[in-house]
Amino acid sequence: MRWWVGLWDRREHPRSLAAVRIGLSTVLLWDLLRIWAYDLVVPLSGTHTAGGIGVPESLQPSLWFLDLFGHSAGAAWGLWGGMALSCTLLLLGVVPRLAALVLVLLYAQLAQVVPAADRGIDMLLRNSLLVLAFANSGATWSLSARLRHGSFSAPADLRVPAWPRYLLALQVVVLYFAAGVSKAASSWTPVGGLNALFIAMSDPHFQRWPDEWLRAVYPLTRVGTLVSWVWEWIAPVMLLAWWYRETADRKGRLRGWFNRRPVVELYLLVGAIFHIGTHFTLRLGIFPFAVMSVYPACVHPDALAGMLGKLQALLIRPRRT
């Protein structure tokens, strides 16, 4: 029991949380700017009387946003503008907790204006934003850090509560595992011929490549179906890896095997390859990038610093030679 309470009481450097904050807000801001660019602010966030596709004015209980600001097109712009502003503040790390809270509350209103336009990935974004509303994610890589420490990066010895990062990391595990278990259609299994990915990639609303090309790579899509299904099912392997790292002082061959290898990082690497691959084979919008923006939560801030250091060295080396 003391271990469990102590786990949620731990503190660590804020860089992993900051990476999630920057990733999430960038993806969401991009999506909001697309709403504006396609002249969809009123159609997607306004009442039907103002020119919206949805009929949010008929909802019971009513939306607090409409109660406060009315049913005009101006209210729709207010909703969108409030989201864009709070998202920008979150990105910059200015009053990040308040910005995340306001953003998630407005985002939930937008979700109810046209429910069909709100996808699963929006729920993941809101879940993560709600956690960020309680996290000190603006302690580094932010304007707040610049004002407080004279540098965008916080001092290496700064510590903030770690529990929001743990919750976000668990969210990634739950997301993948539940998605894997939900894939009950036989087309995801050998029973149904492993056709799921082929069917998804051939769906005209998601299709990126012509039918002839898809038929030519059909065997590969079957392999991809199996790999993605298995990969989602084994998401709890990250929990096991974290547990083994936590109990590294205990004996056990499997524990030793796990602790000698970057299991979590490898799982996430496969995930990143999978998501980037689906971005080039399926039209999924912000989905791949939004999911990957939560990945830094699965990596300890010290490990993330190590990865960034290696990346920096890789990028700088070619210039020197």
Binding site: R2, W3, W4, V5, G6, W8, D9, I35, Y38, L40, P43, L44, H48, I53, G54, V55, L105, Y107, A108, A111, V114, A116, A117, R119, G120, M123, R126, N127, W163, L167, L170, V174, F177, A178, A179, S182, A184, A185, S186, S187, G192, G193, N195, F198, I199, A200, S202, D203, P204, H205, F206, Q207, R215, Y218, E246, T247, R250, R283, L284, G285
Partner: protein, 225 residues
């Protein structure tokens, strides 16, 4: 195991309690319980699945008919749904206020009987297809229709045996955009043709079937020709 938890404050215990409660509720929400309803089983894909899985069970030595499997599924679905509903009900206002949840059915049931959005412009010179998924022209209409939130409307609420009411409003919205860019058109037809997806080796490709056609006249949207 790390044991460096020297002095735990009251707040640390309270926080751990709150986090545990949140975790339990989220996990209950995330568990893919089989919340089956009769209308789910009316879907042709569900019927195929019942046949396939009952055959597999029979082959494994447990003779089962699709009807028996459906009945078991409905019983379990009702039980699971009621349990989850009762436990999560007190938290529903908070979930609604924050728009949060844990339903992750990502491509859970890829639809072999998929839809294809088609937008036809009708004018004095005849009918011209302005958009047919998956597009390829790269024009403004295509960019609009393929934006994920707009796609969600017709793919989720329209591409089903009986489109939801928003599909009509979506058709109206698309027609207004088309009329604004094409003053020569007198009507716009929006439809979701049935497009059966047949994997290689499982039959010949089948022609699309017209479905869910909505014709919007220019006079319907109130802008003069």
């Amino acid at each position: 195991m790390s044991t460096d938890t020297p002095s735990l404050t009251t707040w640390a215990w309270a926080r751990a309690g709150l986090v545990t409660l949140v975790l339990l509720l989220q996990i209950l929400d995330a568990i893919p319980l089989p919340e089956l309803r009769k209308h789910h089983l009316a879907n042709p894909v569900a019927q195929e699945e019942l046949v396939r899985w009952s055959e597999l069970l029979t082959d494994l030595g447990r003779p089962t008919t699709p009807e028996q499997l459906a009945e078991t599924g409905l019983d379990l679905g009702s039980l699971a749904g009621t349990f989850r509903k009762v436990v999560l009900k007190p938290w529903h206002p908070l979930r609604r206020m924050t728009g949060t949840g844990q339903s992750w059915g990502l491509f859970a049931y890829p639809e072999p009987a998929s839809g294809r959005l088609v937008v036809d412009g009708i004018g004095p010179d005849g009918t011209e297809t302005l958009y047919s998924a998956p597009g390829g022209k790269g024009d403004e209409l295509e960019t609009l229709l393929e934006y994920r939130r707009i796609r969600g409307i017709y793919d989720d609420a329209g591409d089903r045996p009986r489109p939801r009411r928003i599909y009509q409003r979506f058709a109206q919205f698309v027609a207004e955009r088309v009329f604004a860019d094409h003053p020569e058109l007198t009507a716009v037809e929006i439809r979701l043709d049935l497009h059966p997806l047949i994997p290689p080796g499982q039959g010949e490709p089948v022609e699309d079937t017209r479905r869910h056609a909505r014709i919007v006249l220019r006079s319907d949207v109130g802008s003069p020709p």
